[in-house]
Amino acid sequence: MFEPKMICFYCKWCTYTGADLAGTSRMKYLPNGVVLKSMCSSRIDPQHILEAFKKGADGVLIGGCHYGDCHYVTGNQLTHNRVAMLQKILPDFGIDPHRLRIEWISAAEGAKLVKVINTFTEDLRAMGPRRSK
C-alpha cells in the first residue's frame, strides 16, 4: 500500500500540547506524520509549506488553536487566510489543494488529533502519490 509522507506543523500552545496529550494517554494512530513545532501557526511562512511540498511531502497539516484561543490573539486567523489563499494557487503547481489541511486542535483534544491524522493519512493514501514532485 502507498504510505504517504506528511509534514505536520503544530503550534506550541494548542495542537502540540494536544499531541502530547495523545502521546501520554497512549492513543494509537498512524505514523505517517513528521511533526514540527512552532510558537504559533502564524509563524509558519507559506514559503515553508511550499518547501515541504517541493521536498516531496504528500500532505501538509497545520494545527493551531481554535478561533479566539490563539496565544497571540489573531495568529491563527492569519493562518486561516494564508491557507485559503495557498489552496487557491496549489492546483497551478500541479498539487491537489486537499493535500494542504488546516485544523484547530486544542490542548485538550488529543482524540481529535488522532482522528485528524488518521483521516488525513487515509485521504492521502486514496489520492495516491503526487504526480508532480
Binding site: P46, R82, M85, L86, I89, R131
Partner: protein, 323 residues
C-alpha cells in the same frame, strides 16, 4: 586602466532590455567611453563565431537578458558563461522568467494548438503545424524546436549578479556600470537594486494596521492618489517586491505587479505577497475572509506575474493533478 570588455545578449526576450540601454540617452556615450562592446546583437556587428573564437573569460562582463526557452538560448548562455568573467542576469526574464514564464502554467501542445489552429482568424483546414523539418520540392528546411518549460538564466549557468526590472531602469544600469568600472561591485550573488521592499520607497500613505473588506480590480476604482493602493483594496505587489524602480507604476496610480522580483531574503515572491495579503484581509470572521479571498481572480497569474520560473514549486500543470 584598460577599457572594460562588455558583452550583451538577448535570449527569449522582448527587446525592451536592449532598448533600456538606449534609454540611458546621452549617458550611452559614457558607457561607450568606459567599455568596449564585443558582442551586442541589436546594435553591433560581432558574431556568434567571434564569441566562439574568444578565449575563455575574455569578456569582463556579460549582460544577459531574456529567458531560456529553447536549446539555442541554452547554448548561448553556456557559451557566454565560459567567455565571461562576470555573468549578469539583466531584467526580469533572465532573472525570474518574466512574462514569458507565464507559459509555464500551460503546455507547449496547447500553445501550438492555439496559435496555429484555434485562433479565430487562422485558416488552417489541413491542421498544418510548424515542423522542425519540412521537405520542400527543392530540399529540406529546418527550424528549431522548443522546450516545454521556460527557465531563468541561473537555472542553466551560475550567475554573479542580478539587475532586475522589466526593463531595468536606466539609472540602475548606470549604477551597475559605475560599479563595474570602478571595481566597486558588491559581493557575488548580489542583486543590484534596492535592499528593501517597494513599499519602503513608495510615496503613498500607509496605516498601522490596515484591514480590507474586499479586493478590487484596477478598473473598478479611481485611487485617491494619497492612500496605499493595497489599503484601497487593489492588489499591489509592493510588500514582496524589491525596491529600486522609484515606484514607477504607483506614480501613475497603478498597482505594482512585481517586475523587480522578490525583495532581499525573500525566496518566493508570490508566497510572500500571499502572506502579506492574508494579514490585511479582514480576518476576525472566517466566512467573510473566505468570501474576500475567493473573490480574488487569477491569484497565481497575479502573484507570479514575473516569477513563473522563480517559484519554489515548479509551475507545471501538465504533470500535475487537478482536484
Amino acid at each position: 586602466m584598460a577599457k572594460l570588455k562588455l558583452g550583451m545578449y538577448w535570449a527569449a526576450t522582448c527587446g525592451g532590455c536592449d532598448v533600456s540601454v538606449l534609454d540611458t540617452h546621452e549617458r550611452l556615450l559614457k558607457i561607450v567611453e568606459a567599455a568596449d562592446i564585443y558582442f551586442w546583437p541589436i546594435a553591433m556587428d560581432f558574431k556568434y563565431k567571434d564569441v566562439e573564437a574568444m578565449e575563455d573569460g575574455f569578456l569582463d562582463v556579460c549582460l544577459f537578458n531574456g529567458a531560456i526557452r529553447n536549446s539555442e538560448n541554452e547554448h548561448l548562455a553556456k557559451l557566454l558563461r565560459k567567455k565571461s568573467k562576470v555573468m549578469v542576469a539583466y531584467g526580469a526574464c533572465a532573472a525570474f522568467g518574466g512574462i514569458p514564464a507565464l507559459a509555464n502554467f500551460t503546455t507547449r501542445e496547447k500553445i501550438l494548438e492555439k496559435a496555429y489552429k484555434t485562433t479565430v482568424s487562422t485558416d488552417n483546414p489541413q491542421g498544418v503545424y510548424p515542423q522542425p523539418s519540412t521537405k520542400m520540392p527543392e530540399g529540406e528546411i529546418t527550424i528549431p524546436e522548443f522546450y516545454n518549460h521556460v527557465y531563468k538564466l541561473s537555472d542553466i549557468v551560475p550567475v554573479e549578479y542580478t539587475i532586475p526590472g522589466c526593463p531595468p531602469p536606466a539609472d540602475l544600469l548606470m549604477t551597475a556600470v559605475e560599479a563595474i568600472v570602478t571595481g566597486k561591485l558588491p559581493p557575488a550573488g548580489s542583486t543590484i537594486a534596492g535592499e528593501k521592499t517597494l513599499c519602503d520607497e513608495c510615496p503613498l500613505e500607509k496605516s498601522e494596521k490596515p484591514v480590507i473588506n474586499d479586493i478590487k480590480r484596477p478598473f473598478q476604482v479611481i485611487p485617491d492618489g494619497k492612500k496605499c493602493l493595497l489599503e484601497q483594496g487593489l492588489i499591489c505587489m509592493g510588500p514582496a517586491t524589491r525596491s529600486g524602480c522609484g515606484a514607477a507604476c504607483i506614480k501613475v496610480n497603478m498597482p505594482c505587479r512585481g517586475c523587480f522580483g522578490p525583495a532581499k531574503d525573500i525566496k518566493d515572491q508570490g508566497a510572500k505577497m500571499l502572506s502579506a495579503l492574508a494579514s490585511i484581509v479582514k480576518f476576525d470572521d472566517e466566512q467573510k475572509a473566505d468570501q474576500i479571498i475567493n473573490s480574488m481572480v487569477d491569484a497565481t497569474g497575479t502573484l507570479y506575474r514575473f516569477g513563473g520560473a522563480n517559484a519554489i514549486l515548479s509551475p507545471r500543470r501538465t504533470e500535475g493533478e487537478k482536484p
